[in-house]
């Protein structure tokens, strides 16, 4: 497998997984919670790195995802029980956890192979060099495997939970009447977002994963507000944006993650312009 293909596939797998989850976040008006989770997992990741001393320990990283779920629980408590405005609850929680993460990484800098740059924009260009060896045989880049597993997880989750997700996304009260546990679906979705963030973290960093979550889904929403076409379009836009971004970054030799986020933004702006014009004409 060529390095280029490994990077491109990792980017595509990550982008599609995030885009599908992002569709639900957009519908539930919870994209900022997704943003908060992506920042909040940092202390979990720092601890996972410290304890596992390697990048291949998947269980460890799923443990780190728990911190993301913890953050959503804290946000819920702040806004529902302690009556803090929801935007302020989000802002307070994620900045504190993210700051804690940065401090931990700096504190353990000689023991943890992670630096602030990686945290902020990932190192997808290094994906081909971190390979996984099983029984003496190289199995290819770890990140490719983990993003592939992520995509599989997201697809299984979406197919099996489709009805519950659909109901609880559009009409919470109706879903509650039908006996669909809105809280449970929320928590499961946030857990998935958390896992996706942790797995994408190494390749695209904490903030750009937000672009992957939000931009394709928002672009899709401009075209259709029905769940099924929206998910499909979001996946498509995730794919096209990440491919375009990767190609441009490779051409210009600049940050791949930055290129992907930029192209996702440009793509949104284009679709926005087209839908605006077609509406007025």
């Amino acid at each position: 497998m060529t390095p280029t293909l490994a990077i491109a596939l990792t980017a595509i797998f990550t982008a599609i997984s995030c885009a599908v989850l992002g569709a639900f976040l957009v519908l539930r008006k919870m994209t900022m919670v997704g943003d908060a989770i992506s920042h909040a997992v940092l202390p979990g990741i720092a601890i996972a790195y410290l304890l596992s001393q390697s990048r291949s320990s998947l269980p460890m990283f799923l443990g780190a995802a728990l911190v993301g779920v913890f953050a959503t629980v804290v946000i819920e408590i702040l806004s529902k029980k302690w009556k803090v405005q929801s935007d302020a609850s989000i802002g307070m929680t994620f900045t504190t956890l993210f700051a804690l993460g940065v401090v931990l990484i700096t504190y353990w800098s000689d023991k943890v192979d992670l630096d602030q740059e990686c945290v902020l924009y990932g190192e997808i260009a290094f994906v081909p060099f971190n390979t996984w060896t099983l029984a003496g045989q190289s199995m290819g880049p770890i990140a490719l495997w983990s993003s592939g597993i992520l995509l599989l997880l997201v697809l299984i989750y979406t197919f099996t939970g489709y009805k519950g997700l659909l109901m609880s996304s559009f009409n919470e009260d109706y879903a509650a009447v039908l006996g669909i546990g809105v809280g449970a679906w929320n928590l499961s979705l946030m857990s998935m977002v958390s896992v996706a963030t942790v797995i994408s973290f190494e390749s695209v960093g904490a903030i750009l994963v937000v672009a992957l979550l939000v931009a394709p889904a928002a672009s899709a929403y401009l075209i259709s507000q029905k769940l099924k076409p929206m998910i499909l379009l979001a996946a498509l836009f995730g794919l096209s944006g990440s491919l375009l971004g990767y190609m441009i970054s490779a051409q210009l030799d600049i940050s791949i993650a930055g290129g992907i986020a930029t192209m996702l933004g440009v793509q949104f702006a284009l679709i926005l312009t087209i839908t605006q014009f077609s509406r007025t004409s």
């Binding site: 900045t95 672009a211 929403y221």
Partner: protein, 421 residues
């Protein structure tokens, strides 16, 4: 540690932190604080472009670049909110992440072309107070003073806009102008703030001081002052910690200290804090439980026509529910000489009888008031009275008695027990 440079950095950090906290307080109250977060992230491409196109070292270019990028981000969010069906959270996170991504792209370009001073750019990501030059310090301190002045000048307008925008427009305030001034001030506050904590953690400087201050006071001027104080204290604490520990970043430490203030205020503050509210809820529950027990005993006496005792089990049965902390309530009642424990159970003392009679009286008075004056059906009034009997004060009781003309019986023909004096 106390060399002049450290002192100057400290003073600068104090001003920067408190001025962004004051501006952040208004957007906090408006419920738009995450827009500030988006603007902070969106400044990155502006700052980097200013660095590429202009003189990277000059703070003036940075401010102009930041101002332009911040305004574009703000109006971009407003456009998406108004012209599409997307909700505001999506608009905010979309602008935040894609602008930031573009900034990262530009930064990697600067890095690749090897413009030596890129170290100066990295400080905008997570802040690096130590890297602030003296020129920066003077410029940004001046800007911070300007911000405080601006907030003071527009105080009335911001206040009205924050609490009731329609009203502000109705009394003829130029809301468009005020809104623009506010946006410019926010962008400048963020530009100033990112000198210390960077774009990623800027939201903390805008939001957390206000969230902390809000739980201590409800008055706007006091809240602004407190927010500025919390931000300054955090800037102080963070700067000291990062100076004392090797390799420690200043920005994240300021944010951590701020988070500590924020969360502990939410827990500990009197009245609005979580502990205080829990204590109030517990004491209300205790009061209700005590009064219900006394009422139960009084009712048993009334039926029997003589003082009787009830066992704890009988009390649980009579209320048809399990009494949480029944034994504790009984113990407290005993301690206050409201009940006595006898071999056959618990009985009212004279003092307890007065108290029990009062609760029963309030219950029956309220039932009568609901049927007589509010026209409710007699079979709907009991649950209402169950709540009100614990709430009615002696003054209101007197008014109800007077209003109903010293009634003798309630709607169910049970006597209303007055004190014989």
């Amino acid at each position: 540690m106390f060399d002049p440079v450290f002192i100057k950095v400290l003073l600068g950090t104090l001003l920067l932190a408190s001025s962004s906290a004051v501006v952040g307080a208004f957007s906090f109250l408006k419920g738009e604080s995450l827009v500030g977060d988006a603007i902070a992230h969106a400044l990155l491409p502006g700052v980097v472009l200013a660095f590429i196109l202009g003189d990277g070292r000059h703070p003036g270019y940075l401010i102009i670049g930041a101002l332009i990028a911040g305004l574009i981000a703000h109006y971009g969010i407003a456009f998406i909110e108004q012209r599409t069906k997307l909700k505001s959270d999506t608009a905010v996170s979309l602008v935040l992440s894609t602008f930031f991504g573009f900034g990262i792209l530009l930064m990697s370009y600067v890095q690749r072309t090897g413009q030596g001073q890129q170290a100066g750019l990295e400080r905008f990501l997570l802040g690096k107070a130590a890297a602030i030059t003296m020129v920066d310090l003077y410029v940004f301190t001046g800007l911070a003073l300007l911000l405080l002045l601006g907030a003071a000048l527009f105080y009335k307008g911001f206040q009205l806009m924050t609490f009731n925008e329609d009203f502000a427009a109705a009394i003829g305030l130029p809301t468009g102008t005020i809104r623009f001034a506010f946006t410019v001030l926010t962008v400048l506050a963020v530009t100033v703030g990112i000198q210390t904590v960077g774009v990623v953690l800027m939201a903390a400087l805008l939001i957390t001081p206000s969230a902390a201050a809000r739980s201590w006071t409800s008055s706007l001027p006091r809240m602004l002052l407190l927010a500025a104080l919390f931000a300054s204290a955090a800037a102080l604490g963070g700067t000291f910690i990062s100076a004392a520990l090797p390799k420690m970043p200043t920005g994240p430490w300021i944010v951590l200290v701020l988070g500590f203030f924020g969360f502990s205020s939410l827990i500990l503050a009197p009245e609005k804090g979580w502990l205080a509210r829990r204590r109030r809820a517990t004491s209300n529950r205790n009061k209700t439980q005590r009064e219900n027990l006394l009422k139960l005993l009084y009712g048993a006496e009334e039926r029997a026509g003589e003082p009787v005792a009830m066992t704890a089990e009988a009390m649980v049965d009579a209320r048809e529910q399990h009494y949480e902390g029944l034994t504790k309530t009984l113990r407290n009642l005993k301690k206050e000489f409201l009940v006595v424990e006898r071999p056959d159970g618990f009985a009212l003392t004279d003092l307890g009888r007065i108290e029990g009679r009062r609760v029963v009286r309030l219950h029956r008075l309220w039932e009568l008031y609901l049927t007589e004056r509010l026209g409710m059906a007699a079979d709907h009034i009991h649950p209402q009275a169950e709540t009100m009997e614990h709430v009615i004060t002696p003054e209101i009781e007197a008014l109800i008695v007077k209003e109903l003309g010293n009634p003798e019986v309630d709607p169910h023909q049970s006597p209303i027990p007055y004190e014989e004096d």
